[in-house]
């Protein structure tokens, strides 16, 4: 790394992260991930509060769905689910924005991957991220892709998967069309926030569990 300032900052961040891990034994990195009640099992998920915020412009979807397969895994990060379908909005409840109707199309080939990195046994909460996200959005005159990762948190007691962004796990705009001026530009980092209620098997009423152990 040629930038000494950046190198210093990175070193400091790594040191801080190491300290944080050392001070939080409950979050000791698990390497064995047990998915229940079955493994593998199909799942479906429904969100009613999906918002992609792009340069201050909220792109809101009143409904969003996802589905795929969950399975037990080893390692850290632990690859515990494949998201093989994702949809945003519906004919009755389309996605909207102040700059025009929004038509998102998720590309889940290859599947998006849910990976666990930490587990809190006290709360039964898995934290991790979703990688491989790839979606195309049309907002009136503007068409662009978002690719990248989001943070993910799954709580066994509620069956709710919460996703969001930070500087590490983020989405990036690509392939912005000429009509995106004022809305999106290549390299922009939109934020994505949503809570999905997860059921297993897909379309069923069961609540999946994820447990990580060192």
């Amino acid at each position: 790394m040629r930038n000494p300032l950046a190198k210093a900052a990175l070193t400091a961040t790594a040191a801080a992260a190491a300290l944080a891990l050392a001070g939080a034994p409950a979050l000791a990195a698990p390497t064995v991930w047990t998915v229940g009640p079955n493994s593998p099992q199909t799942f479906s998920a429904l969100s009613t509060n999906t918002v992609l915020n792009l340069n201050g412009i909220p792109l809101t979807c009143p409904t969003a769905t996802a589905g795929g397969t969950m399975f037990s895994a080893t390692g850290n990060p632990g690859h515990i689910a494949n998201i093989s379908s994702a949809a945003f909005g519906s004919a009755a409840n389309p996605c909207t924005s102040p700059v025009g109707p929004v038509q998102p199309i998720a590309d889940t080939t290859p599947p998006w991957q849910l990976k666990g990195t930490a587990y809190n046994a006290t709360t039964g909460t898995t934290t991790g991220f979703i990688s491989g996200i790839n979606a195309s959005l049309t907002v009136l005159t503007c068409t662009f892709d978002v690719v990248g990762e989001v943070n993910a948190t799954y709580r066994n007691s509620t069956g709710v998967l919460t996703v969001s962004n930070n500087a590490t796990r983020q989405l990036t705009v690509a392939n912005a069309s000429a009509g995106c001026a004022g809305i999106a530009a290549n390299g922009d980092h939109p934020t994505f926030n949503a809570s999905y209620r997860v059921s297993t098997p897909a379309g069923g009423s069961g609540r999946p569990t994820v447990v990580g152990t060192p």
Binding site: N55, G56, I57, P58, T60, A91, P94, T96, P98, V99, G100, P101, Q103, S136, T138, L140, T141, C142, T143, S177, A178, G179, A181, G182, I183
Partner: protein, 576 residues
């Protein structure tokens, strides 16, 4: 319900069975030298009760514009209407017209290489109650093509017999000389049937259609008419437009197709259709109430000023559910400019001095989404959006010409074609508070009004080609810096998520417009004062409805909003 003489014994089509169009039907020879086109709007009220509803019928002479000039046609209009109604309650109905073309008119179509004809019809019905005026535009769809005989032949064309609307008891005598009746399922055969006097003879000696004359059927419900108060409600036929789909002998579309015939009632014709009593709360019929249909020799609209004024609000006309008042004109967006959009707009305009409302035809607007920026203001983030627009009617910056009937000076029935021409670029500026999804859009558009094809009391009045306002119509501008009586200002309010107007989603825009004085009106005499005194002035209300635009410049346009050929999917309905 028979559609023509000789077809009366034909069973109606099954309920819900819309007649299938067949482009390959061989033209059948005719005995008559006439074509009778029956536009069936009537009898579509299943279960009509004799004591509350009747079928009315009136024959009206029209003139239609053919390629070589105007020619007379005879039109029988039929409607199944209630005898009376109530203030605030919508009146729905079917109606009918039988259009009989003389041989000369048929020859005009034959010259277009048409061997058979079908199509759609649009009839403007002037609705009046006391001093209130409105227009209802009925749109009907044709059923089967009717053969155009190459020459007069004695054979009837039974294959073009009656067709009924879905689930309806429909029928009409075809053309002149036939009695209109009601028969058929769901309709009491004993319900009142009124045939207006003078309907028995079309123009031209011996021109009455015979029993075997083929009939082309159009069907469709009238818009819902809601009287705002009590008093007689009168319906008067106005302009009729026939969008004729012409087919060659081998069933292929003839060119040009559709071929539009614009028709107007002939001078001196009684175009009255019906009078519907709207009694007061005590059930008493106001003076002048009459359960009769058209009144011979009396234009019900002209008689209106003599009636007791209605006790209540204005008339409301709303399109039939699920049906557009008129077909959408071509509206192809620009695909070269990445920020290009295209949208339909329609609505109603009120001319204050005429106390009348007329529909603003569905028009096409080409838009450019010029700029967007997010600005932090004390109450939060605002989206400021600027766009421009151009009207697009067949490539010209005008709204489609609108034929309007109104009362000049409150008593002279006047029909005119109104054309609004855009003089300069339309601007659309929005300021939206993102946190609340609220805000205001201001549309500024310089428009000049021209009048032509004027008829006063049925008598053509040559106003010349340049009878127009001396300058643009204008509104008070909310921005003092842009004040200057240069443009109409339409405003649209966004009240919350999905509630109200936004350029990008469409919605309702309103304006209060001042119409400047007229200039250039009249050929042999100066008619400027006539139109200036009767039309010009402030306080004219305009309500426009914009449909969601198609972002035609997007390489991957959203199919929810764009057709494959980059036209808007969303066609708005006018609102009052």
């Amino acid at each position: 319900m028979p559609r023509s003489h000789g077809a009366g014994t034909r069973p109606p089509r099954p309920a819900g069975g819309r007649a299938r169009r067949s482009r390959h039907r061989s033209p059948r020879p005719w005995r008559s030298a006439l074509i009778t086109v029956s536009v069936l709007l009537a009898g579509v009220a299943p279960g009509a009760r004799a004591d509350t509803e009747r079928t009315v019928s009136a024959a009206i002479g029209y003139r239609c514009g053919f390629p070589s000039g105007t020619l007379p046609v005879e039109v029988r209009i039929t409607a199944a209407l209630p005898v009376s109604g109530s203030a605030g309650e919508g009146i729905t109905a079917g109606a009918a017209a039988a259009v009989t073309f003389p041989e000369a008119a048929r020859a005009e179509l034959a010259a277009l290489k048409a061997a058979s004809v079908s199509g759609t019809a649009r009839l403007t019905v002037a609705v009046a109650q006391g001093a209130h005026r409105a227009e209802a535009v009925w749109a009907g769809s044709g059923t089967e093509p009717v053969a155009l005989p190459a020459d007069a032949e004695p054979e009837p064309a039974p294959g073009t017999g009656a067709a009924t609307g879905s689930g309806s008891a429909t029928g009409s005598g075809s053309g002149s000389g036939s009695a209109t009746d009601t028969a058929g399922a769901g309709s009491d055969s004993g319900s009142a049937t009124d045939t207006a006097p003078g309907t028995a003879s079309p123009s031209g000696p011996g021109a009455g259609p015979g029993a075997a004359d083929p009939v082309l059927t159009f069907e469709g419900p009238l818009p819902t008419i809601t009287p705002g108060g009590t008093g007689d409600l009168t319906l008067t036929a106005g302009a009729l437009a026939l969008d004729l789909a012409l087919f060659t002998a081998d069933g292929a579309p003839a060119q040009p197709s559709p071929h539009t015939l614009d028709c107007s009632p002939r001078s001196g014709e009684n175009a009255g259709l019906a009078t519907i009593a709207i009694p007061g709360d005590d059930g008493s019929a106001p003076p002048g109430s009459s359960p009769t249909p058209s009144v011979p020799g009396r234009d019900p609209t002209a008689a209106a000023p003599g009636q007791r004024g209605p006790d209540g609000g204005a008339l409301t006309i709303s399109p039939p559910a699920g049906q557009r008042a008129r077909p959408a004109p071509p509206c192809v967006g620009d695909t070269e400019n990445a920020f290009a959009m295209v949208a339909y707009v329609t609505g109603y305009s009120n001319v204050a001095k005429l106390d009348g409302a007329s529909e603003v035809p569905l028009s096409c607007t080409q838009l450019i989404d010029v700029s967007k920026k997010i600005v932090l203001q004390p109450d939060g983030l605002h989206l400021l959006q600027h766009a421009t627009g151009e009207l697009d009617y067949r490539g010209r910056p005008v709204m489609p010409p609108a034929r309007a009937t109104f009362l000049t000076y409150g008593f002279m029935p006047t029909t005119a074609t109104m054309e609004l021409t855009q003089l300069d670029t339309m601007t659309i500026d929005s300021d939206l508070l993102l946190a609340k999804y609220t805000g205001l859009t201001v549309v500024r558009v310089p428009l000049r009004l021209r009048l032509y094809d004027v008829e006063i009391n049925g008598v053509p009045l040559d106003v010349g080609p340049d009878c127009r306002t001396v300058g643009p119509l204008y509104s008070k501008d909310p921005d003092p810096a842009q004040e200057g009586e240069r443009h109409v200002v339409l405003t649209g309010e966004l009240k919350g998520p999905g509630d109200g107007y936004q350029l990008v989603t469409g919605g309702v825009l309103t304006a209060t417009v001042t119409i400047p004085p007229f200039s250039g009106c009249g050929v042999d005499e100066d008619l400027d004062p006539l139109f200036t005194s009767s039309v010009s002035g402030p306080g004219n209300y305009l309500k426009q409805v914009q449909g969601a635009p198609c972002a035609s410049g997007n390489p991957r346009p959203d199919p929810t909003y764009c057709t494959k050929d980059h036209q808007p999917v969303k066609v708005p309905e006018p609102e009052r």
